[in-house]
């Protein structure tokens, strides 16, 4: 029987012996070579000790009958994937700050105090730092009000550049004292991303700080808004989330999921 390739293929007994000298990865690849190699390279006899060594946590003996039908090479494959997923680092965000515009509006009953539309690229940030940005050059001036606290309404929207999408970070009411040096802090719970079940809270809030200039810098009878800071704060550890985590959060609401 002549064949059009040299007949030097390893006899199965040789394969069976050599298989004991192969690491799991090579065994798995070798089982894709051809059908007879599959039989030699994926036997339980070979894979059982490998599985027990690498994944002693996958000891299923107490499940009895059902488990004996799972080949050990399959058990190894799922063990390997499971171990890998546990240490997986999240992917790079698809969004960058350059894709976003922060729109902030703070108003009293009678007037707008702050209206800002700040493109993300103008925000100063360090990728290793946190998702918290000071929006400077606000410079809004208004009459000082000697009375205690004033009602304000705060809206913070994040717009995907080109008006492709919008996400409302904060839309709330609060009180702040309109006097020099005063500072107001506002927060609102952020929704859980749609892909994960809504029963788990998101654990993050939108955070905004409004600060007025000191008496020296203000005019007579006036206050100046000194700064507005916005950020995403985790209420689990009371720290601002990283820039990447913030972008990954926003991505759920601004970028369509790949199906």
């Amino acid at each position: 029987m002549s064949l059009n390739f040299p007949i030097t293929t390893p006899p199965w007994e040789v394969l069976a012996l050599v298989a004991h000298y192969l690491d799991p990865k090579t065994l798995a690849i070798a089982s894709c070579v051809c059908k007879s190699w599959f039989i030699s390279m994926s036997s339980d006899h070979l894979w059982k000790p490998i599985c027990n060594t690498h994944f002693p946590n996958l000891h299923f003996t107490d499940l009895g009958e059902q488990v004996r039908h799972v080949p050990y090479h399959r058990l190894y494959a799922i063990g390997h994937a499971a171990a890998k997923r546990r240490v997986q680092t999240p992917c790079k965000p698809k969004l960058s700050l350059n894709d976003l515009v922060f729109s902030i509006n703070i108003r009293t009953k009678s007037s707008n105090i702050v209206t800002i539309a700040k493109p993300g690229e103008e925000l100063i940030f360090d990728p290793n730092e946190v998702f918290k940005f000071d929006v400077d050059n606000v410079n809004y001036e208004c009459s000082s009000m000697a009375a205690a606290l004033q009602d304000v309404k705060i809206t913070w929207n994040v717009v995907l550049s080109g008006w492709k999408g919008v996400f409302t970070m904060m839309n709330c009411e609060g009180k702040v004292s309109f006097s020099p040096g005063a500072e107001g802090w506002f927060s609102e719970e952020l929704p859980s991303p749609g892909c994960c079940s809504g029963t788990v809270a998101s654990g993050v809030v939108a955070d905004l700080t409004l600060g007025f200039c000191s008496r020296r810098e203000s005019g007579v009878g006036k206050v100046k808004v000194d700064k507005v800071s916005v950020g995403i704060l985790s209420i689990v550890n009371w720290r601002y989330v990283s820039v990447d985590d913030g972008l990954r959060y926003l991505q759920h609401f601004l970028v369509p999921c790949d199906d």
């Binding site: 390739f5 040299p6 007949i7 030097t8 293929t9 390893p10 006899p11 007994e13 040789v14 012996l17 050599v18 004991h20 000298y21 192969l22 690491d23 799991p24 990865k25 090579t26 798995a28 690849i29 070798a30 089982s31 894709c32 070579v33 051809c34 059908k35 007879s36 190699w37 599959f38 399959r74 494959a77 390997h80 994937a81 890998k84």
Partner: protein, 179 residues
């Protein structure tokens, strides 16, 4: 007629005795090889035959051809010499090089065509010579490591008898190994 060969120097006497005792191994194709018993006993299989007293004069080895048998004997001789001559302390600690002299010899020994290599594996298994089995199997194993299935097929001249669907299926099962 100095028959009073009492053991004055034990090791030398033992060595002399061993040197004179020989066995004959007969290959499947009828060729006979005379070797020192100590060399032949590198093979656990032959060792059991001799110890069980079934040796007579010739030990037939129907599974091993003369070509392979002569190589196996060469291996056993070389390794027996090396083990006998050197004391453990000398080989292990005085040599600064990471390879011991036999590693190089072994590497040359397995530079043979695939068929011969496979026959050596089978012979080492049948004759139960651990060192030779390790050496030959590791050589073949190294020929498979780090290769894709197609490269392995080319190395060993194997025909792929999977249908494209079957191949995709088995690759998927083993996806983790390809990453």
């Amino acid at each position: 007629m100095a028959s009073s060969s009492t053991s004055v120097v034990v090791s030398n006497k033992e060595k002399e005795n061993k040197n004179t005792k020989k066995v004959t191994l007969k290959s499947s194709d009828g060729e006979s090889f005379e070797v020192d018993e100590s060399v032949a006993m590198e093979s656990q299989t032959i060792k059991h035959i001799i110890e069980d007293g079934c040796a007579n004069n010739e030990i037939p080895l129907p599974n091993v051809t003369s070509g392979i048998l002569s190589r196996v004997i060469e291996y056993c001789k070389k390794h027996k010499e090396a083990a006998g001559e050197s004391e453990p302390s000398v080989t292990s600690y005085t040599s600064n090089s990471t390879t011991n002299p036999l590693t190089e010899w072994d590497t040359e020994f397995v530079k043979v065509d695939q068929n011969t290599l496979f026959d050596l594996i089978l012979a080492a298994n049948y004759l139960d010579i651990k060192g030779l089995l390790d050496l030959t199997c590791k050589t073949v194993a190294d020929m498979m490591k780090g290769k894709t299935p197609q490269e392995i097929r080319e190395t060993f001249h194997i025909k792929n008898d999977y249908t494209p669907e079957e191949e995709a299926e088995v690759r998927k099962e083993n996806q983790w190994a390809f990453e």
